[in-house]
């Protein structure tokens, strides 16, 4: 079933963007009143309607689309201005997390889930959780690796929390800033159909970091192969979400610049994962029976740099 979407007003640009970005997407008409109660938590409609809702956003974002002109009109020094960035319900946050972990081929994360309602709740708390997860998992993993050694004394390594926090928050906020600046600059040269606001880019980056939380927990397993397989797997999943988000924004540009941009995005994402793995998690060492420690340089025999 494919018929054109005809919203009442203010949707024409968005529809054009949708069609330009995904020319073969199915768009379905909705011709019932928009007043569906807010707690659609379970989405108790038939499966066909669920897909429509997912494609075109929930009714809350319909309302915010319609009110788009009046949405962020509070001046930036009032509290209400910042409240507009936290205007999400539990199920919306869970949907966005789900969308970042299971990329649907052909569907754009921003268009599908954010729908002009970028929030700061997800990026901030996902980064906070990731910071503590990496610090705690790294500490636990080092504890298990060095468990039997006679010269090992457990330390909580609390310094690493502040290092992790700086790195992850810098990645989640400075890289979107740089990317947004770059896209704005290219937009002034080449007319791109798809363009994102700064908060939407922050949102995508924040939610795409979610996959690293279970990955960091699984990194406790002290096997090199397992760790690298996990890195590759999570990189593929969240990297593909990022690629599918940013490819439409640079596609109309010069081929080389487009490829370089998307390549840099993926490269930085990979660097973050590999850097965290290398810094917070000691290399698992091969087992061999603990040697009789000679008087002077016993410990240097054991540590093997990998």
């Amino acid at each position: 079933v494919a018929s054109l979407v005809m919203y009442l007003f203010a949707e024409f640009d968005d529809a054009a963007n949708l069609l330009a970005a995904n020319p073969d997407a199915t768009t379905i008409s909705i011709d019932e009143p928009v007043e569906i109660p807010k707690n659609q938590h379970g989405r108790l409609q038939e499966p066909g309607r669920e897909e429509d809702d997912e494609l075109l956003g929930t009714n809350d974002s319909d309302k915010t689309e319609l009110l788009a002109g009046q949405k962020k009109s509070a001046p930036f020094w009032t509290f209400e201005y910042y409240q507009t960035f936290f205007d999400v319900d539990t199920y919306q946050v869970l949907d966005r997390i789900k969308g970042s972990v299971f990329p649907v081929p052909g569907k754009n994360f921003v268009r599908l889930y954010i729908r002009s309602n970028p929030d700061l709740y997800g990026p901030f708390w996902i980064c906070a959780t990731l910071v503590f997860t990496i610090a705690v998992s790294g500490n636990l993993s080092n504890f298990f690796i060095h468990l039997g050694k006679p010269t090992y004394h457990y330390v909580p390594e609390f310094r690493k929390v502040s290092i992790a926090a700086t790195t992850i928050y810098a990645y989640a906020w400075l890289v979107p800033l740089a990317l947004w600046g770059f896209l704005m600059w290219r937009n002034s040269k080449v007319m791109n159909i798809v363009s994102y606001s700064f908060l939407e880019i922050v949102c995508v980056y924040g939610y795409s970091l979610f996959i690293y939380i279970p990955t960091a927990i699984l990194w406790i397993i002290p096997q090199k192969v397992v760790r690298w397989v996990l890195v590759m797997f999570s990189l593929c999943l969240s990297g593909s979400v990022l690629v599918m988000t940013f490819w439409p924004a640079v596609r109309d540009d010069n081929r080389r610049i487009a490829l370089a941009t998307v390549g840099t995005v993926v490269l930085l994402h990979a660097l973050l994962a590999v850097g965290c793995l290398a810094y917070f998690f000691d290399a698992p060492e091969l087992d061999f029976p603990a040697p009789i420690i000679p008087a002077h340089n016993g410990t240097t025999v054991i540590t093997k740099s990998q």
Binding site: K38, N39, H41, F79, Y82, Q83, F85, F86, V88, D89, T90, Y91, V93, Y121, W125, A128, T129, F132, V136, N139, H153, Y154, V155, P156, E157, F158, R159, K160
Partner: protein
């Protein structure tokens, strides 16, 4: 006003009466100023208020006393004692020791402020200091856990002591989270309760982690 032309008040009836409207119940505080009371009374009143709130935390029921008369003395005392107990005396040159006093302090206060801001931004109706008060007071079970852990560590630091510490810390962590959720949950919009409770969970988890990984030198 033609109808009132013949109304007159004779001048020899004095008009008298009380202008003040009697107030129903006068609270005793207004009868005397607290400036004249002995210092002991002043201190005891505040101490009793703090003590009552501690009792409320240990047996969390939905009472509004904790919320209405907020104070930050209790959280300050708890935070300082927790931070002091987390000092393992790691005076050696190793950098990666446990958290310093300032780090614990900052984590607790900054964490509580961020959680309060978060709940207010999501549309909560609780006031800023009331929320800080609740979050600070609900650190009490974890402070008790820290005390127990230090006592257990005096006895020894093997696997048995670790298991005991783990059980105690996990139980107190659950108690803290449930107590603060019981006080704060009502003031949140209904579709966003989980969004507000999760940061509280993370906050007490980090404090519990600091307590559990405490190793004396």
């Amino acid at each position: 006003f033609p109808g009132l032309a013949d109304v007159s008040i004779s001048e020899d009836i004095p008009v008298e009466g009380e202008i003040t409207v009697p107030v129903g119940s006068r609270s005793p505080d207004e009868d005397y100023s607290t400036l004249d009371e002995p210092v002991r009374d002043t201190i005891m009143r505040d101490l009793k208020a703090v003590g009552k709130k501690f009792v409320h935390v240990m047996y969390p029921k939905k009472s509004s006393a904790l919320l209405r008369d907020w104070d930050l003395w209790g959280p300050l005392v708890l935070c300082v004692s927790l931070a002091l107990m987390l000092q393992g005396g790691s005076a050696d040159s190793k950098d990666d020791g446990g958290p310093q006093f300032a780090e614990v302090f900052v984590i607790i206060w900054f964490g509580a402020v961020v959680i309060t801001l978060n709940s207010k931004l999501l549309g909560g109706t609780i006031s800023f200091f009331q929320s800080l008060c609740v979050l600070g007071y609900c650190v009490l079970p974890l402070t008790v856990a820290m005390l127990v852990c230090r006592l257990v560590l005096l006895a020894g630091s093997g696997t048995v002591s670790f298991v005991i510490r783990l059980i105690v810390v996990v139980a107190m962590f659950g108690w803290s989270t449930l107590a603060s959720t019981a006080f704060l949950a009502d003031s949140q919009p209904p579709n966003r309760k989980a969004l507000v409770v999760y940061p509280i969970f993370l906050f007490y988890f980090v404090i519990s982690w600091m307590i559990l990984t405490f190793t004396p030198q």
